[in-house]
Symmetry: C2
Subunit: 341 residues, 2 copies
């Protein structure tokens, strides 16, 4: 039976220009709210973590509703319908969406997606949902791969990067991943089928790019910013597309502080190559979500994409799961198991 109270993680601080700390979150008890007409009550099973969540806490992302101090921490997740007052959902359905960090979420049915049959909950969050849509849409609609393109990805062993590389292979690209450490690099080449990997902690990125992409980079998919972006901009091919999807090297710093990585001096190479640097703004592609979901589901079932989750367990560890992203500790999608499915 559904209990009448639940645990929630509330936003307690704004981590502007600094790393996240424990005190930015507060664990609190709250009521479980029965669904009104059109709403659905969801029991959270897994939560999903993304670096953008820190910017949400800062109210830096203009595309999101403002986050209030004392409000439930926003975040994606997958769960099971516990009660429904919406005609499209029934108790027992597996659903995903922006559940927030709470054991029970009461949401409008229109904000939830039904899970495709035969896909595990952790695969839903690592391959579908916002991670999969980001990887698919940012690569396909902004990067615009053409078979034969050389695609270079930073934070390639992260949730988004590892998917982008696999989708790039399906699209016929030569895929080079940049990641930190030999284990992550080996995973990319040996298990995910990347053509090459560069260990930025132990190799000179620019020299390795020169070796591995002698004809230049057609698509650079950036999740990092800072030196890696600058190094890639030095090696652009004619008409290259640079997709700015994330900038994890920036998220812990105040824009005006000396610790904030410098802007990319090599941006000017776009003039010599006619290249494009474009930001990926998810809500612009909302009408393409069904396309992304359908193709990713198909590729997942066909074994062309391997989901990989980095799993913590226990609702009380949600802040810790988010902080792992900024320490570069996750391989694949960082998830938290909250309850059995």
């Amino acid at each position: 039976m559904t209990p009448s109270t639940q645990r929630r993680w509330l936003v307690a601080g704004r981590p502007v220009g600094r790393p996240l700390v424990d005190a930015d979150f507060e664990l609190a008890n709250g009521p479980v709210t029965a669904p009104s007409v059109g709403q659905v009550l969801v029991r959270t099973c897994y939560l999903s973590f993304d670096p953008a969540q820190k910017s949400w806490m800062e109210n830096a992302a203009s595309y999101m509703n403002p986050v209030e101090i004392g409000g439930v921490m926003p975040g994606g997740g997958v769960g099971v319908v516990a009660a429904s007052a919406h005609p499209d959902f029934e108790p027992g359905d597996t659903v995903f969406g922006q559940l927030g960090w709470q054991e029970y979420a009461t949401l409008d049915g229109g904000a939830l997606y039904k899970a495709p049959p035969g896909v595990s909950m952790s695969a839903i969050l690592s391959v579908l949902g916002s991670t999969g849509r980001t990887a698919y849409l940012a690569l396909m609609k902004v990067g615009k791969p053409v078979a034969g393109d050389t695609l270079v990805i930073s934070a390639a062993a992260g949730a988004t990067g590892s998917l982008v590389g696999q989708i790039g292979k399906i699209a016929g690209c030569r895929v080079i991943g940049i990641a930190g450490g030999p284990e992550k690099c080996a995973w990319l080449t040996d298990e995910l089928g990347f053509d090459a990997a560069i260990d930025y902690k132990n190799e000179k990125v620019r020299a390795r790019l020169r070796e591995l992409a002698p004809g230049g980079i057609d698509i650079f998919f950036d999740n990092v910013g800072g030196d890696l972006l600058n190094d890639a901009l030095a090696r652009l091919a004619l008409r290259a597309r640079v997709v700015i999807c994330g900038g994890i090297s920036r998220y812990n710093h105040d824009p005006r502080s000396p610790q904030m990585p410098e802007g990319p001096r090599n941006y000017f190479n776009v003039v010599f190559t006619g290249a494009t640097i474009q930001g990926f703004l998810m809500p612009q592609y909302e009408r393409d979500y069904p396309e992304a979901d359908a193709r990713l589901t198909e590729w997942l079932r066909a074994g062309l994409i391997q989901p990989r989750a980095d799993l913590l367990e226990g609702f009380e560890r949600a802040p810790q799961a988010l902080m792992r992203l900024f320490e570069g500790r996750n391989v694949g999608k960082q998830l938290l198991k909250v309850a059995e499915g």
Copy 2:
């Protein structure tokens, strides 16, 4: 009659990471070469100057043939056909193209364009030729103006910027120019019809942009780089287009020197706006040159575009004319009159 010898300016130095100096050029006598079959001999009347010429001397622009030390300094100009071995040209025709810094150029007919009737030589170089094509094509094909867009231009009183603003007005944009000093700013608003101008030497650019473009910048047309680019990136509207056409703040510095302006830290705003930063690489738009030439000629004749040349006189002053660009001394297109038309 055509003489048998002529004066030429040769490239004598590579100004990499430093300003131009007199010793980078050498004035020399050379032969006048009679045209072979398919060639045309042109008597140079006006030369045209562009900051990109410095990068040509550095062999930094991959789209150009390498420039040799001891070779004739490349540059655009307009002149009169003195002798022709090409069926499309006759002595007396006014033509323009890459004549080089020489009193007489012997060129393939295919590299020359006939001047449209009724357009003065100085208007050809300030509104047609590479300046006009750059302004028209970079704005139209990269900036993609939509009537009602707010268009902001750096180095707006320069040859390219002042044309871009006038074309932007024709396209229905609200046009804001950034220029150095009250005189240049007054010229933009009072004579060229810009909606507003910002004097970056005496005003705070970011605060003024906030006042003048409260809904954000739809198109930023950049000829400068450095702080101006960074300030504009802070104020992008949703789906903004940033056209990187030039970077005059960068041209005198070594990429690795501390004097080189920092890269734009605010590049990351493209993620919050879905904006695009794209370089304008002229040769990519070669098939569109006739479109640019035709429309600019029409607008010039209709009085919708005002040519403005900043004229020096005397072949021996060519290096000085080029250096004026880097001192921000020119208003409108820097030209040099070499001989009567």
